[in-house]
């Protein structure tokens, strides 16, 4: 192959697709990025067998023809280290020579023909969802998904597309975050699937730049396709049954007490309390009383801490304990200035909400 491309553009697209390549893999070709050059366009493809990402660079400064499969990590480092504005990549015998100005690399590639086939990127029937809103839903939910492989579909995020609504839900069994947005989706009945975290994180990266207005989402039998103007992500879905989240969302009568709390003040107080919450068994205590909230923690042999802040609260005095990480991660995901916390007693589920469309249910720690 032969390729001539502006360096910045090449680097940008490589940075987008490279994170897909697994660090360790039994199939060396998964470490490669597939490059397909044609005049004015360069396609870059990476895959780890579960998720594949295609990024398309379109630019008048691109010229050349042909395909190559080169190790993504090394290629990225090489491109980053070169200093000229324009780079040339050319196959010479067993090597691909990457040249920028007076410097050059010789890189070993794989036969591009062994690069795995990725599925069809046909976008027919995809649902267009406003990009900003969808990224907001991702930010409000992804942190609550289980990090470890667990039962059910906990290490994925549920996507539900309804005629006028899109919902994301994530849970690890101890807390659950739900966020929904109103939008005309054009579907006639509810469709749902479970998105893997890695695929969603990749979508966040790709969608956070670019001037797209919408993300196109196409749910297939066991895959989901996210399409932006210059990038497509095809991901296998998480198999399994997502728990019935509607059954565990507390109704208002289950959580009759309500407090209005300043978000950033609470976030700072939780962070302080976490210092003395210990390393293994962590809990912080939220003590509500008329007009005020005390946040404290204590660990034998470590110390204790206490912060008090004014809140809008009229109910009885209640102490309730939570894992500080669970609250901290939630508050960090928000940009809202105030949160509502509704609860009942020290042993029952409580929930935070910023609106009716964004709810975070959290289970207490008891002893």
């Amino acid at each position: 192959m032969k390729l001539v491309t502006p360096r910045e553009l090449f680097l940008h697209h490589l940075q987008l697709v490279a994170p897909i390549s697994p660090v360790r893999t039994a199939r060396p070709v998964f470490k490669d990025v597939l490059l397909e050059a044609s005049p004015g366009q360069l396609r870059l493809v990476t895959t780890d067998g579960e998720i594949s990402m295609t990024s398309i660079a379109t630019h008048a400064g691109i010229s050349g023809e042909g395909r190559a499969a080169l190790p993504a990590g090394i290629l990225l480092s090489a491109v980053r280290s070169l200093e000229s504005d324009e780079l040339t990549l050319e196959q010479k015998g067993p090597f691909h020579e990457l040249t920028g100005g007076a410097s050059s690399f010789k890189l070993h590639g794989e036969d591009p023909e062994v690069f795995p086939e990725i599925g069809s990127l046909d976008e027919d029937g995809a649902v267009a969802i406003p990009k900003t809103g969808f990224l907001d839903l991702c930010a409000r939910t992804m942190f609550a998904a289980a990090k470890e492989m667990g039962r059910y579909a906990f290490n994925g995020v549920l996507l539900e597309i309804e005629p006028k609504e899109v919902t994301l839900v994530a849970t690890d069994g101890r807390r659950l975050s739900l966020a929904r947005m109103t939008t005309e989706t054009g579907v006639s009945e509810r469709a749902s699937c479970i998105l893997p975290l890695k695929g969603l994180a990749q979508l966040q990266r790709a969608a956070s730049e670019g001037d797209d207005d919408v993300v196109k989402v196409q749910i297939r039998e066991n895959q989901v396709l996210f399409a932006l103007q210059g990038a497509q992500i095809l991901s296998r879905l998480v198999e399994g049954e997502f728990p019935d989240f509607r059954a565990v969302l507390p109704k208002e009568k289950d959580a009759p007490l309500e407090a209005q709390i300043d978000r950033s003040e609470l976030e700072r107080a939780i962070r302080r309390a976490a210092v003395t919450a210990g390393e293994e068994a962590r809990s912080v205590e939220l003590s509500f009383d008329a007009g005020k909230l005390k946040i404290s923690s204590r660990q034998d042999g470590l110390g204790e801490s206490e912060s008090e802040m004014p809140v809008e609260y009229q109910g009885e005095a209640v102490d309730i304990r939570f894992n500080p990480e669970f609250i901290g991660e939630y508050l960090k995901s928000l940009s809202d200035s105030a949160v509502t916390f509704r609860f009942k007693d020290r042993a029952s589920a409580g929930y935070f909400a910023t609106s009716e469309r964004a709810v975070y249910v959290i289970m207490p720690i008891t002893s």
Binding site: E148, G150, R151, T171, G173, R174, R175, L176, P243, V248, E279, E280, A281, R282, S283, D300, G301, R321, N323, A347, A349, V361, I362, M363, P364, I365, T366, S367
Partner: protein
């Protein structure tokens, strides 16, 4: 046709209950001697006891008038009526021993009550009496048993080789010799002297006489009182424990008993000091009101029944635990050990069968040994961990920590170079914290939003429901969810990243899966601590290491992990010097 069995057959059957093997004969005869208030007892065993058992004592002897009854069933001078059974202070009381032995051997008693009339000798061959005849002898009794089981070949076939039986005889003499202070014992096997215990020897000296001085050096004394139960004895340090029990002796009111529960109590006391695969050696003497223990359970009197079994268990457990807590348990690699010290056998390590298997004390085979600890050592270390606000006579040494292979921590302290197993130490810290939290009702539990269902096999399902309360105390709230499923509503906060089904199954494991540590809740804390602790291979930052060491030092006991593996090895400066051949230059 049903007919009454002839007398000799009945005797032979009854004999089987008391006289199981030569060692039981040895035991019965020594107990008779003790009941006769002997101060000196000599035992000879030949051909594993099948050829000859001879027990000579200097006791009160048997009067001529009583001698004729010596081989009669249920004839005893030690028990007059049923009421006496409540307060049995003598060893023999059933009146079975001599009759049984006489029925299955060629026996002879020579005895004198020490009067000028001299003594008498009476022979009994397969139950048939010959004598008594007058004989010149000194005060005391000599019982000689030859050709044991000669008329019951079936019994003979069940016995082990001569050396095995000789080892059992030796064990029988040993157990009695250990406990009877004031009595001098000696033992000969096939004409070779095996040991001699002086009358004035205390328990430690008796142990040393029987097992060798090296063996005793690895033991710590134990003593305790609990609810009128006194416990005394000696216990091996964990580092000297062996996979097979070498010496495990329990005495209740000076009677040697084989009681699995007592062994379990000792093990339980050692539980978090000792790996489950190893056995402690020990001698435990329990004294309590004879009315609180029933010894009339088994013909050989080896089993006893306590009226308050749990109290006895607790007393033993606590005494063992306290003894280990007071001891310095960090193994110290020893230069001599590493340099393959030569052995010092003496007659103790002769060809005796029992010794051949077990006669090598730990310090010869292990490069590590535990030294008893000066109490100041602990205090020094705690003092150092305090913030510098406390005025110190000398500046505290700078501490540096190093993690090796992501598994071991290395640092120095005044005691020397310290090597730490990070998982073992963290496990110990967490275990201690979990214990404290459990005791204070502070063991936290993360409630689950979505109860997790776990399918169990029927026995686990039943066990899980039977243990609901115990599991809830640990933070695991389990409820039935159909015939083979349970729903988990809360998990221990410390373990919330664990797989819930794995955790539940680990907690349900029957106790014997962990070396018989009997206390269920405690053992489950081990499991939890183990699951929550940093693993070998986890990289740790300097802060984490410092914090872990500090937490370890704050504990009563951090020398072993809850499974009994050592958490640290200490190489003292003088040992380093020896290893590097610096000393003496």
């Amino acid at each position: 046709m049903i007919r009454a069995l002839p007398r000799d057959v009945v005797d032979r059957i009854a004999a089987g209950e008391v006289v199981e093997r030569p060692a039981s004969v040895v035991k019965e005869l020594i107990e008779n001697a003790l009941d006769a208030r002997a101060r000196r007892i000599s035992v000879s065993v030949g051909e594993g006891g099948l050829g000859l058992i001879r027990v000579a004592d200097d006791g009160t002897g048997i009067a001529e008038a009583d001698l004729g009854l010596a081989f009669a069933a249920h004839a005893t001078s030690k028990l007059a009526d049923v009421g006496d059974l409540e307060h049995i202070g003598s060893f023999g009381f059933r009146g079975e021993a001599l009759a049984s032995i006489g029925a299955v051997s060629r026996a002879r008693i020579t005895t004198s009550i020490g009067t000028e009339a001299g003594g008498w000798t009476l022979a009994c061959e397969a139950g048939v009496l010959l004598g008594p005849e007058p004989v010149a002898t000194t005060r005391g009794t000599v019982v000689e048993i030859r050709d044991l089981f000669f008329n019951t070949p079936a019994r003979r076939r069940f016995l082990g080789a001569a050396r095995t039986e000789a080892a059992r005889c030796r064990e029988a003499v040993t157990s009695l010799a250990l406990v009877h202070a004031g009595v001098c014992f000696d033992l000969e096997v096939d004409g070779h002297k095996r040991f001699r215990v002086d009358g004035g020897a205390d328990l430690r000296e008796r142990l040393a006489a029987v097992y060798g001085e090296d063996f005793v050096r690895d033991m710590v004394p134990l003593a305790g009182q609990h609810e009128g139960i006194s416990v005394e004895g000696w216990l091996t340090l964990p580092a000297a424990a062996k996979p097979r029990p070498r010496a495990q002796h329990c005495f209740v009111n000076d009677r040697h008993v084989k009681d699995r529960a007592l062994v379990a109590a000792v093990r339980s006391g050692c539980a978090d000091f000792l790996p489950g695969s190893l056995q402690p050696a020990f001698v435990i003497q329990i004294h309590l009101d004879p009315a609180r223990v029933d010894v009339n359970v088994h013909p050989t009197k080896a089993e006893v029944r306590f009226r308050e079994r749990d109290e006895v268990f607790r007393a033993v457990r606590r005494a063992c635990r306290d003894a280990l807590l007071a001891a310095n348990l960090s193994p110290r690699p020893r230069a001599e050990g590493i340099a393959a010290r030569s052995m010092s056998p003496g007659w103790e390590a002769g060809p005796g069968p029992a010794l051949a298997a077990t006669g090598s004390p730990s310090s010869r085979t292990l490069p590590f040994r535990v030294e008893s600890k000066p109490f100041t050592d602990r205090a020094d270390r705690v003092g150092e961990a305090l913030p510098p606000a406390v005025p110190a006579p000398a500046p505290a040494p700078v501490r540096r920590y190093l993690q090796v292979h992501d598994t071991y921590l290395v640092h120095e302290d005044p005691a020397g170079l310290v090597l730490i197993d990070q998982h073992a130490l963290h496990e110990r810290i967490l275990y201690a914290r979990l214990q404290d939290d459990l005791a204070a009702g502070r063991l936290e539990s993360q409630r689950l939003l979505l109860p997790e269902t776990v399918r169990l096999d029927p026995s686990d399902h039943a066990r899980a429901l039977g243990m609901q309360e115990e599991l809830a105390a640990l933070g695991l709230v389990v409820e039935s969810f159909g015939p083979d499923t349970v729903a988990i509503h809360a998990v221990p906060a410390v373990l919330q990243h664990e797989s819930v089904p794995d955790l539940l199954r680990a907690l349900l494991d029957p106790p014997d899966a962990h070396g018989g540590i009997p206390n269920g809740l405690d053992r489950r804390l081990f499991t939890m601590a183990c699951h929550a602790a940093v693993k070998a291979g986890d990289p740790l930052g300097e802060d984490e290491i410092a914090s872990m060491l500090r937490q370890g030092e704050a504990l009563d006991h951090d020398a072993t992990c809850p499974h009994g593996r050592p958490t640290r090895l200490v190489i003292p400066p003088d040992e380093l010097e020896k290893l590097f051949k610096r000393s003496g230059f």
